[in-house]
Amino acid sequence: MKDKKIDLKDMSRTEREPLVHLEDGDLMPLPVPSADVVTERRWTPLSEQIREKYECILDDTCAVNVPRPQSKEEEEELVRKFLSGLDKLFSKENNWTFLLPLVLTMEHCAKCQTCSEACHIYEASGRNELYRPTFRSEIMRRLYYKYVKHGGLLSAWQHGDIEVNWPLVARLIELSYRCNLCRRCAQTCPIGADNGLVAHELRKLFSQEMGIAAKEIHDSGSMLQLKVGSSTGMNALVVKDNIEFIDEDMSEKTGIKVETPWDVEGADVLLIHNAGEILAWPENPGAFAVILNAAGIKWTLSSELAGYDSINYGVWYDDAQFARVALKHAEAARKLKVKKIVLGECGHAHKSLSVIADRVLDGEYNIPRESSMTLLHDIVMNGRIKLDPSRNDFPVTLHDPCNLVRLMGVVEPQREILRKICPKFREMEPHGVDNYCCGGGSGFAIMSPNNFSDWRFRVAGRKKMEQILNAFADCLDPSIPKYLCAPCSNCKGQFRDMLAYYDMWEKYRILYGGLVELIVNAMVDVKPGFIEWEWH
């Protein structure tokens, strides 16, 4: 399949066939061949029913499930909407939020392909042309010059031509969901063009103009959060109930009475977790409570709408949803008159509220936001809790969440903690701001429609699998338990599913978890064995 070349024009092909098909042999090999499950585990093909019902004409999978139009007229109407949205993407009234970065990327990419080698998806796919960061950008660029700038023949000669039709739009919808938005490509661009941004802006166009978005991040994501307070579906009563249960469990487990404060007016810290932690990894919010109480921090959780769930999926696909959720978070802090908001272990929540929302929140809504990495660093490095590093005497490596590190610059606090409390800490290569995405970024970690997980683990997460195996290369023996520290809820979601997919626990005893779990595991005042070496 590798030899089959695709062309930009293929995006407009009217045959209802995927443009590419990946064979397992095409994929980037893993450093430990026995770790690769591609021979044991088959890629689930899309069913005929799904292909018949939805527009799955890009590759082997389907992320968005766009229903097939029933008539030519419907197709034309969708194309018209697309072009109308494209126009809006380049107007200041509609897209002041990202207009300048987008225009600069459209007008100045030199097509040198420097970005391609930085892209983990392109590399892992065996350098399939479809996944090259510039492939979707070049389509977008040609559309921009033709339909937004209304360039004629001269423009087509200079910038390249393109014909827009419904198959092209349908394929672009899917293609905008084949990028993790990690922006590693942008980091290497000598000119400063940003191909990750192009995927982001395309998603916005589809959502804000056509009402098309991945169900998991819109209907079950931002909409549910705005409705009940959390994308987990938990309302304030349920979340309080769950936290109470976690407190009891933590008290028993640690031997220290744990109590989580709610809605404390004037608290120094409003802690906002990704609420997914409460359901999937309760030991994480539990560990936060243990640490903050032990360090004497005056902190609180909020039961306001969205005040107990830091997620903001709008950051991946929709500016309106993004701004709405950011305002809810700020509102929760404003009502409680807290001194600062501290974000729990969730990368995209960090970047959303601390960085991107900074220019949405003004005046009384611009309440200081701080990373939990910074607060934890202060607690650990200044001896505010007693720690015994020998309790963490097992190999530990650190995954750098893109949103926290490359896109926000919080790099050292978490690794300084690990160097202090984990004697066998080792870095992945590359790490820090040069890290690779876990493969679950931009919403993929919560998306599993059809066979999308196969693509997510075999392609998007493959580079990270390589890094994990390399980091533990000297201790792969399953008799040695190993800990992959991922201080990000979405990354953990990806690791939970991907490590299971590759059978990493059974084969090599690789466990994943957050940073606070390691801190509590090393706390002298806590009963030993906080980290339970079992797969969950």
Partner: protein
């Protein structure tokens, strides 16, 4: 003939200046965008730049003084501008072609600047072109001009070869991209040939600049050199109309996007802009956005489509 060439060159310089001004104006007056920085940001404190960290690493960062490390920015910018450091790090095969091309252009720009200095000196004190400083400048621009032209043509041919033969570039190459490189090769080669092989009476770069400044129509410019100058003028005017004006774009992509980490709480200018932009009236058509053209961004952001109520 010479007068027409002068007029043409003046016109091309004006088009270049206007083209650059329009582009700069478009980018500089674009609305404030949301923060979208990428780390490392080199104006951070030096100990943070080393690992790519930001002020977010400091506890209660908003209580600390603003730090702007100009030396850090210069340390990044100078090697990037002169040696194309990013390309060297991330795309060495392309750097081997792109660096000579760009460095050649820098030398040619330097040659023009030196020729202008020599011309001005000669205009101020006639006869300095053959003695002392004038003589030294003429020798220097001969060297920079020669080296610049060779590097530029070799680099452009290398880029052209790669663009036509490397499948990963070929797919994305338009006729315009090929034309641009050929344009550089032809214009610079003709300019070079015009100066180098025009014979003993061919005016040098300083004489051309002097003639241009004085509008000296008595200056005889051989045909090859005249065509080379005209093409170079055309090329200069053409650049701002294309993606090759990335010397302008890079200021914005780096300073206004990648490195723009200014918190709004510390900038009244940004706060004013936000207030202004929140009054824009979007027209996005999706139902959940609820933008009907009469609502402002502030209205949209404070509406909850899942509950149908404002905050």
């Amino acid at each position: 003939m010479t007068a027409a060439l002068y007029l043409f060159l003046y016109a091309m310089i004006l088009v270049f200046a206007a083209g650059c001004a329009v582009r700069i104006y478009r980018y500089a007056t674009a609305p404030m965008h949301l923060r979208w920085e990428l780390y490392p940001v080199p104006h951070e404190e030096p100990h943070r730049v080393r690992h790519g960290g930001s002020y977010f690493e400091a506890p209660d960062w908003w209580t600390r003084p603003v730090h702007f490390n100009l030396a850090g920015e210069l340390k990044f910018m100078i090697p990037e501008m002169i040696f194309l450091k990013g390309l060297w790090e991330f795309n060495r095969p392309m750097w081997r072609r792109s660096f000579p091309f760009h460095f050649g252009l820098y030398l040619l720009i330097g040659t023009a600047a030196l020729a202008a200095v020599a011309a001005v000196l000669d205009l101020i004190a006639a006869g300095t072109s053959s003695t002392g400083l004038g003589w030294a400048i003429a020798r220097l621009y001969t060297v920079t001009g020669l080296a610049g032209a060779i590097l530029c043509v070799v680099g452009a041919l290398g880029l052209l070869h790669r663009r036509l033969t490397d499948p990963k570039l070929r797919l994305y190459t338009t006729p315009g991209d090929i034309f641009n490189l050929v344009f550089f090769v032809v214009a610079v080669a003709l300019l070079f040939a015009g100066f180098a092989f025009g014979g003993p009476d061919t005016p040098g770069p300083a004489a051309i600049v002097r003639g241009l400044v004085r509008f000296d129509t008595g200056l005889e410019i051989p045909a090859t050199l005249a065509v080379g100058l005209a093409l170079a003028g055309l090329l200069i005017a053409y650049i701002p109309m294309t993606h090759m004006s990335h010397f302008i774009a890079k200021w914005f992509t780096y300073h206004e996007i990648r490195w723009d980490d200014q918190p709004i709480a510390r900038s009244r200018r940004l706060a004013r802009k936000l207030a202004e932009q929140l009054a824009y009236r979007p027209t996005w058509a999706a139902a959940h956005v609820g933008a009907d053209g009469s609502k402002t961004w502030a209205d949209v952001a404070t509406t909850n489509p899942a509950q149908g109520a404002k905050r």
